[in-house]
Amino acid sequence: MEIKDTIIIAKEFGDTAGARDYDDGDYSGKEFYDKFLLPRFNKAVEGKYALLIDIDGFWGWPSSFVSGSFGLLSKEKGAKIVLDHLEFKCDSNPMKIEKAKYIISNPEKK
């Protein structure tokens, strides 16, 4: 699937990951989900293209943030469609991509 949109998290959202929900402080996974991930993902699905998530330069990658954003998206939309429409880029630490994909594939687990 062709990539037509990119979210550079460190540039558009913030350079440090918070925790899961709004009550956990700034830059939470839920905030990222509401403000960036969900709207852009919906557009990608409608436009039948892939959305690239650029994680480079984003400090920290706690599971609470990932489950609060990508895990929640997977719960809402289903793992397959999320994996079909999301691409990841993280040259500095490719394990972050593996972790995100693991959470998307297993969104129910903590």
């Binding site: 009550d23 706690p62 599971s63 593996e98 959470i103 903590k110």
Partner: protein, 194 residues
């Protein structure tokens, strides 16, 4: 007396014994000497000598190479193990203190991030160099590591309302840690076996 024995009598006796053996061999018809040497015989001798020297050297080199490679693999495993031990010890201290501060949460978050980078390099190196029999365990180790990261940076540990790591969460962290170590030991066993 010793000097006489060593420098005169012993060489004289050796010489006499040598001459006697030579005479006996010469007079026995079974031992006939052909003083004409073919050029192929020369090559044959050189080849035999070469094989005699080359094979043990080759075997020694192969053994040394394998030993060196295994030492590198063990070193990689130990390096990764050491990092996990450090993080786990820190978490254990936080749990024992029954108090988790913001700086502890940040530290855990940062260390888990660094461990992820390290794991990525470590996993790629091991997949390339480990015996094929260890591949399954390496993939299991990756899953165990991700599950360890998942529970260690979960909302139950780094959530803003969390003031201490509860027993249930710490037990889950320890279980994942043990699973990781179990896989590391299995990989070591496979390296030793092959």
């Amino acid at each position: 007396m010793k000097i006489f024995l060593r420098y005169f009598l012993l060489p004289a006796v050796t010489l006499l014994v040598g001459i006697s053996i030579g005479l006996v061999i010469r007079d026995i018809p079974k031992f006939s000497m052909d003083y004409n040497i073919k050029i192929t015989d020369v090559f044959s001798i050189i080849l035999t000598f070469g094989i005699g020297v080359f094979i043990p050297l080759l075997v020694k080199k192969l053994i040394d190479d394998k030993r060196t490679k295994n030492a590198h693999l063990f070193e990689e495993l130990s390096g990764f193990s050491k990092m996990t031990v450090n993080i786990h010890d820190y978490m254990q201290d936080v749990y024992n203190n029954k108090k988790i501060l913001v700086k502890d949460k940040d530290y855990i978050n940062i260390q888990m991030d660094l461990l992820g980078k390290e794991f990525n390099e470590f996993h790629a190196f091991m997949m390339e160099n480990c015996p094929k029999q260890a591949t399954d365990y390496l993939n299991e180790l990756k899953t165990c590591y991700i599950e360890y990261w998942q529970i260690s940076t979960s909302i139950e540990v780094i959530g803003s309302s969390i003031k201490k790591i509860d027993d249930k969460t710490f037990k889950a962290i320890c279980e994942k840690y043990t699973e990781m170590n179990k896989r590391i030991r299995r990989i070591k066993t496979e390296i030793i076996k092959h």
